[in-house]
Symmetry: C2
Subunit: 436 residues, 2 copies
């Protein structure tokens, strides 16, 4: 299949490390010269009878009145675009706007030369992760992630793709461990390609590294890239949601960008948390190379092949809504308002957690994101799941348990006034189980 070979050749020529990192599926996939390809070629012709979407014959959607009514806040043109198919790679204006959003602050930091592709639109961040998993992992590709980690990584990389998942602790003696990813890979033979997941601000930890810790992370990953081709997935779900003073808030995608020819950062981000658009499912996948080069083209081609074969095309409706935010001129202000609201909760929660007086429970450091993480002592004699169950059954309080000993508080979905009581109930629950 020529169109697949062409992408493989381009990638091998421009970036041998990426070529080594491709999975078997990654090697055999590319965007086919099929209907969306042919439809793209027919765009603007007098007659366009290529694409199976029902229109009035002049490119306008034919929604029923009830569907149109639900989108009443949009202009006629926006509504029309919201109802029709998106290009497989996403709406072009949204891709441009999101790239600007991702790169805000780079120029002021003297980093505007760092390359990044035009982001490809995915159906939320998990879809971006799952495409990276398809492209770069499989039963023989080790995936490193600090522990505890968001459980869906196990599903997306381990269960679905069969990749071995290796870990090292995110925290050692209650402090963040910047060397975790390199430590997780220490036993992998030199030369064997690997994938690492860097999720900062972290879920479940709510942690973002200090400037010094960032340098340690970069140094350890650059050293790792001396040993092997290393794809680093920057899961930037919570990008910018940083509350503690002095903690840098830019994505580490930029710190890892262009640092080593075998260190390949990929940015996965989206409107989900950054614009509180959870139900919209708009994510983006961005590579750290020049947007117009052959390599970017070939990678985009492969990603489009996977978007096409997993979901057809991304969601137009949500893309139009997100684009309306980005072009409103108020995006930064609206982002900042949410960030400040979460910062208030963070301050209150931090104070409440500092007041916990228990030999059985300690709050791990946090400064950002949506969560805080508590670690139980082994002396409690109960699992995290048992604490969760007790809080549900006897204290009307829902938290997430991560075995064996971690409890996660999602302060992003709790009112600030309620947070002290939530902390009190958790501490009481742990004490109750410790006494039993």
């Amino acid at each position: 299949m020529d169109y697949v070979d062409a992408t493989n050749t381009a990638i091998r020529g421009a970036a041998p490390a990426i070529s080594h990192l491709l999975s078997a599926l990654g090697r055999r996939v590319a965007f086919p010269p099929d209907i969306p390809f042919q439809a793209a070629e027919a765009r603007g012709k007098e007659f366009n009878a290529t694409i199976g979407q029902i229109t009035d014959g002049a490119g306008r959607a034919l929604p029923g009145e009830s569907l149109a009514a639900g989108l009443a806040g949009l202009s006629d043109e926006q509504r029309n675009r919201a109802l029709l198919y998106s290009p497989v790679q996403g709406l072009p204006d949204l891709r441009e706007s999101w790239r600007e959003w991702q790169r805000r602050g780079l120029a002021a930091a003297g980093r505007e030369a760092l390359p990044s592709t035009l982001p490809i639109v995915t159906v939320g961040l998990t879809h971006g992760l799952s495409i990276v998993a398809d492209l770069f992992t499989g039963p023989k590709r080790t995936v490193a992630v600090p522990s505890p980690f968001w459980g869906n990584y196990r599903q997306t990389f381990g269960v679905r793709r069969g990749a071995p998942v290796v870990t090292a602790p995110s925290y050692v003696d209650g402090a963040f461990n910047p060397g975790a990813l390199a430590q997780a890979l220490v036993n992998l033979p030199e030369g064997e390609p690997a994938v690492a997941i860097l999720n900062l601000p972290s879920n479940p930890g709510g942690y973002s590294p200090t400037e010094a810790e960032r340098s340690q992370i970069v140094d350890s990953l650059v050293r790792e890239a001396d040993r092997r081709p290393l794809l680093v997935i920057c899961d930037d779900a919570y990008a910018g949601l940083v509350y503690a003073p002095g903690i840098p808030s830019a994505s580490m995608f930029w710190d890892l960008n262009s640092k080593h020819e075998r260190l390949i950062p990929v940015k996965v981000d989206g409107g989900t948390k950054e614009f509180s658009f959870f139900g919209g499912r708009v994510g983006f996948l961005t590579f750290g190379c020049e947007p117009d080069g052959e390599l970017a083209q070939a990678l985009e081609n492969k990603v489009k092949g996977l978007v096409r074969s997993t979901v057809g095309s991304p969601v137009s409706t949500s893309q139009i809504l997100l684009q309306s935010v980005l072009e409103s001129g108020r995006a930064e202000e609206e982002f900042e308002r949410v960030r400040q609201r979460l910062a208030e909760r963070y301050e209150i929660l931090k104070t409440s957690l500092e007041e916990i007086d228990s030999p059985h429970l300690r709050a791990l450091p946090f400064n950002s994101g949506c969560f805080s993480l508590l670690e139980m002592s082994s002396k409690v004699g109960a699992t995290a799941g048992e604490v969760r169950r007790l809080l549900l059954d006897e204290s009307e309080t829902g938290i997430v348990s991560i075995e064996p000993s971690f409890l996660r508080i999602a302060f992003c979905s709790v009112a600030k006034t309620a947070l002290p009581e939530v902390v009190r109930r958790i501490a009481d629950g742990v004490e109750t189980l410790a006494r039993r």
Copy 2:
């Protein structure tokens, strides 16, 4: 992993044929007792600190004004639901409404006893297909599909899952071939499980079988199920869009339902074409078993595991918009209005195609859906792709080519007044190439 074993045991007990049909991935996947599971348990508690979505602390979304403005037509409650996460299996009221929509007409036909599960929401129909591909196919699972077929089947089943795709002609001597699926499987050893794709109304053919042809399809698939476990994917993208008198419009999912214990129909459908909501990406996956049984639970569990690991959760925004249509009391009327508009185009196109006077081009029979298909004679001495290129370059007309000799007209996106001219240009293009 106990939660995975439990689903496998339930499926093996209730439906050994489905158990035989599961892929290696299908066997190892299930919905984990992870965050969405724990969040579901915490729903309704006084404090719910489980889920990483940013709310006001009382379950209300915190959109910026520009995002909220785009959804101005919805009620406050609808808008709130549209912005927050959907359950992984979809919004409960939409699932109920869609099940009623799918089953309309069954009671009048005396078929209300046919079982069907509560549909699981997917991100458009392709996502449903890709989940079925993940659950039931892989490098050792043959997939049968009549040819020519929608090219994305090759991507979803062949490229992504590595399944061998086998075909037999959809048309023989210009007439529909109801035995195509069984013919495609004739060389597969008896006992070896297989998957078949039944896409009616068809893409690219625009064909729906007559009552007599339906019986032939059912008989041939029942005989095939005597030979092997057979999963039949009813790709009902164009369900109900039938224009010719006397052609049944109900999904063949119902004809295949409960016919043979080794014949397993799965229905893939959605709002994309049925409600002209192309950009919304709301699809559904439905099995032909009782909605409340252990089998339905276990299958739903596996599907949820895959939804979770491919896209996180389906799109709330689009689900709310589709639900607003279904609960408007005008769904049938709005569907019928679009169907009638397409029926007018169908009549005009049919007449134009009958008037083609060329030894090099024949229109294949069509009566439904969004497309009509033309077949070129081998005497033209050019490929379908060359005709497409000529029409683009010299006639300002875009159609889709399917190698070696098929041309597809998407009349769903062309105004009725333009259709005769489109047909004339295609015929002229073919004659031009035949003369060269």
